[in-house]
Amino acid sequence: MIFLVVSSRGSAVSDLMQLFRGIVRKNNSSYNACAVFFVNVKNTSMRKILFTTRLFLAMILMVMLGGCLKDSVTRTYSIMRPVYKSRAEALAEIKSGPPQPLKTPGKIFLRGNYLFINEVDKGVHVFDNSDPSSLRGVAFIAIPGNVDIGLKDHILYADMYRDLTAVDIFDPLQVKLLKTVRDVFAPRDFGIGITDIGNDDMIISGWVMKDTTVPVGAETDNWTCPNCITLHSDFAGARVGSPAPGIAGSMARFSIVNDYLYAIQSSTVGVYHVADPLNIEAMSAPWAGLGIETVYPFKNKLFIGSQTGMFIYNLNNPAAPQKEGSFFHASACDPVIADDAFAFVTLRTGNFCAGVNNELNVINIENISLPQLVKTYPMTNPHGLAKDGDLLFICDGKDGLKIYNASNPNDLRLIKHLTGMEAYDAIAWNKRLILSATNGIYQYDYSDPQRIRLLSTIAVSK
């Protein structure tokens, strides 16, 4: 930037030169940005012109000096920092304790008269659901890094970050860690350069949040925060294949069918023989594709939800599932459930979920090798889903819970729409619906779907 200073008085010019030299000595950036030229006009005939133009020159000078003014923009954001503890210490702490308040509900799992609720990254709450209108906390099993749960007999299978743990919960108040299998699940990437890979002797036991303020340039529109890319796996329940032992939601990363546990890994489905929890064996790991997210068992089939489609595996040989069919859709996150004739897939958008679709796809799977799209229904931001007979329950995020009559998949009819909660996943069983939402766990009686009745809630503790 160039400035021109014109004056008829030599003393004024001299003073100004001294002044500007002082400024540029103090601020080198100003020196780089501004070059000032001084012109001493001694011709008295110019004075009248200078008198009338001085104001305009001053205005121009001031506007040009505007480039020397600095704007200030700061950004304050929160970052999470991990707290580590030794693996041995963490394993020693896997035991039951008194009931804890529900803070970040995750997966839900119904087994007999007990309801298991994952406390994200902390462990598992055990509730006595003998009286659905009055849930009673029984115990809390501390398992760091836990987001998925499943049950077989009295063995709780739970992930601990990448590892699979088998915990005997025969007596929920005296649980025992039976076995740990390393590296069953895909590593978790928390973004900002933090993963659970690295020092195998240490695991993340907690997090601390810290506010950070940094100066940024005036151009901030396209900035995205580092925490926005930390999203990875999905929220909510696992479903055990055998109907009697337990039932869970639709968005699981692992599932137990009879004596086998099927775990979603980075791009493969890890198969583990869990007949003997003390001797868990890795059997196979068939390739399923990139972006696989959920696994849902139905009869002797596994339905794998991925960001690009749905894959169907048969379990004729449960130790080595074989792909039988696939259905591709637009890129999105997509839990899936199925019955004998149809699969129901919800597609949703979100920071981690690519794509632009928020919808329910109904897919005819009567010919397993060639699934056919029957119809697409627009949704708001659908997540988990559940089905009981002709009733289809869709957790539509902030739009709450939608209950459809699905007797005709070509023409789903909305029976009831419950709002006021951000619904993620549901279990529908024996006319009772257990709904996982951000603000708590809801339990409904849907004997009469038109008059669905709230039985109990477990509110999230702030």
Binding site: G67, D71, V147, A218, N227, L231, H232
Partner: protein, 185 residues
């Protein structure tokens, strides 16, 4: 914006009271201006309406400020004319609040909540009055600052916790030189 209208209503009521008195004739100043700072040059419009008492002018001003973000300043303005002559230098100082008037951009995925911030300006100017009339041409140069905060919340579902709340707070402080040309009646 509710705060903007509330403050505007109160100040307009106060100025209306003053206008009713003949010793305080109503004056209106309309400015078109240019703001220059690190970000670049932007356009501004201002309307200051108030009363004059001797060499003093006190008014309530508002307008449009397009520097970096479109904002609406709402401020009290006080000016002192150096001489009572038709042609006179004057100094003025403005102080008030900035209100964001966000421009719609459907490509932005986050929600922004804007908190009004300080608006302050000081300038020197020159008035060229028309003979036997209160109308005058005004020009001024000076410094103008606008501050405000933005709280951005990016909606997302936390699937791989822990997830820090995707909330960011931006503090904006813009320092500009201003040049204004105006008309007073």
């Amino acid at each position: 914006m509710r705060m903007f209208f509330a403050i505007a209503a109160v100040l307009l009521a106060l100025s209306g009271t003053a206008v009713a008195q003949s010793a305080y004739p109503f004056r209106s100043q309309q400015y078109i201006g240019m703001l220059n700072g690190e970000w670049g040059t932007a356009f501004s419009l201002q309307s200051v309406n108030g009363v004059q008492h001797r060499d003093w002018f006190l008014g309530l001003g508002t307008g449009l400020d397009y520097y970096r973000f479109r904002t609406i300043p709402l401020f009290l303005s006080i000016s002192r004319f150096i001489t009572p002559a038709q042609r006179s230098f004057f100094i003025s100082a403005d102080g008030g609040l900035n209100f964001m008037w966000p421009e719609l951009d459907k490509t932005i995925v986050y929600d922004s909540r804007w908190k009004p911030g300080l608006y302050a300006a000081g300038s020197v100017g020159y008035k060229i009055g028309l003979k036997d009339r209160t109308d005058a041409f005004l020009m001024s140069i000076g410094y103008s600052a606008k501050y405000f905060k933005e709280k951005r919340e990016t909606p997302f579902l936390c699937f791989d916790p822990p997830c820090a709340p995707v909330t960011e707070t931006f503090n904006y402080a813009f320092n500009r030189l201003s040049i204004r040309l105006g008309w007073q009646f």
